[in-house]
Symmetry: C3
């Protein structure tokens, strides 16, 4: 069983974090949290979302798994004002999710979870460097990189205690340098990796501009981006595989 | 003869109500009102617009009929600020309409009224049910229906004294239920009819979100939507033919 | 050498005035001003931009010429907030322009100035009439003309002391009449010329709506439009060749 009430803005933040990578996903309706783990079709980007029961106005679940079309669910959540409450209730027999918001009732046909790509294991990685910056700063670096290239390098300069977002185009280069005082926190370590800009742009779309984003990095290693929403009760971790540096 | 001065916002509201259904129309320039009746090319949706002489700053007319290209007239009205006054004057000899607003003069070639589709008779119907709701609520129901289907059912539940806007998609359903306290007024009666969503979406575009919309309904009967603008001096009635309910 | 600091809004205003006509241009980095003269590929519209050294926070230059891709430079300037300062520095050896704004560094590859169309000579013309109007009024006349035609006539009526912006379509006509009291200034003289609306629309895009635009006109002669920005330290002159009047 599953029956919950949640604010429209919290549900939208949760769904957006996943829908930037995949169209369909499995949602785990655990007793103490609502969770999604998904990987994009090319196995390059992964997301791990959890929304604690306390982030809901009310939450009852017993560990089931449902498959959903994220765009449909986002459209419905988009009908609500951001202060509105959304009521969710699973009908076990018909395998439909009943969604209600301010007089509006939507019956969403679920997808067989077995037809959806397997949930990935998010690997434990011992990444040597970590920076914590505002979503707005990450956004600025990504927009700048997008002017010249479709790749982006994330690098920590240990001596300078600085974090660089860099891109090299055919003729032009761009970089955003964040020094210790520009960041919320930095743990220096050997870190320099190249990533596909497309994936990072998609992830960036879901990251609130005022969120604190923790970026864990290594040398030609995947990057992990972590942020919270819903007053710390919603947690998103993205992992993105590196591209081989050509030079 | 025809010579009138009207506020840009009033003229725009009037034109919009017709242009959502047709591109060209006849305007009746009666002594006491400015009127349009039009039907879309498929004979599914009709509009009856009247704007009383008192809605104009000044109004002189003697019963002539002119044919106009609505998009042209809307473009000109769109050049004015909403507080601006638009001067209209018919040149009987050249069959052109002179339009002036704040130093701008536009000479609009008229269309031979005989080349425009005949004005429809809006049938008198004795519809048993009627609800009065805000334009914003109708808009919400139409947007919700549009997520799942291209048809929309409007239904009154007599026992519940409730008005339902419903849509059934291939897999998903949606309905908006308005109870007595959500509405401005309701007259219960047997009413359940299905309509093409496209037409209702077009009509909805012209209906101000803060207007009181009266919806008259029956069982597999046309629906009539009525609202007023220009402080009650502008009147719009839409009529939409029903679709056959397939189940 | 070239090294300068300028506010993002001033640089954007300067670049926009040129980019509406050409994609690439030569910039003259004179000791006392930053200047561009360019003509569109069809030799119909010309622009002469100068931005005085005093319009910059700091400015050092010794008379060099660089070739730039304007869209690239505009994209970078667009990354800055309007209050941000943009640092520009020419690397003579690599022929690259280093651009810095708030931690962001962009290295722009320059274009060989010899590969860019020759700078035009802006002819000295003795135009008999001149009007000074607000950018917003010019914009209004151009938008009105665009409803009916792809040509626009600019005309001064000497007896009325009025300025007319006129357009004749196949069936409809439009004109905006500005009388002495609607204008900032007028010098009457014989003036009536026809222009391609496309060019004037492009120029209009760059003209701030609150700028005072001086329009110098003659009989079937080019028009000159002049306005200032950056508190009078930036100067733009457009010149547009006339079309032959067909009637």
């Amino acid at each position: 069983m599953f029956k919950a009430i949640v604010s429209a803005s919290t549900l939208r933040n949760a769904l957006d974090s996943v829908s930037v990578l995949v169209d369909e996903c499995k949602i785990r309706l655990n007793e103490d949290e609502f969770g999604v783990r998904a990987v994009d079709p090319a196995n390059v980007g992964m997301v791990d979302l959890t929304l604690e029961a306390a982030a809901f106005e009310s939450y009852e679940a017993d560990g089931g798994v449902i498959g959903v079309n994220l765009n449909r669910l986002e459209d419905i959540a988009g009908m609500a004002g951001s202060g509105d409450l959304i009521h969710l209730e699973l009908d076990e027999e018909t395998r439909k999710l009943h969604i209600q918001v301010e007089g509006l009732s939507y019956t969403l046909a679920l997808i067989d979870p077995d037809s959806i790509r397997q949930e990935p294991d998010i690997p434990q990685l011992d990444l040597p460097a970590s920076v914590v910056i505002e979503g707005a700063q990450l956004n600025r670096g990504i927009k700048a990189a997008d002017m010249v290239s479709d790749h982006i390098a994330l690098r920590v300069d240990e001596a300078e205690e600085a974090f660089y977002i860099e891109a090299q185009g055919d003729t032009d280069d761009v970089d955003l340098k964040l020094e210790r005082e520009d960041m919320i926190d930095i743990t220096v370590g050997a870190a320099d990796s190249l990533f596909s800009l497309d994936y990072l742009k998609d992830m960036n779309k879901a990251i609130p501009k005022d969120a604190e984003v923790t970026i864990d990095l290594g040398e030609e290693f995947p990057v992990k981006l972590h942020y919270e929403f819903a007053e710390g009760l919603g947690h998103v971790t993205y992992m993105l595989a590196p591209r081989i540096q050509s030079d």
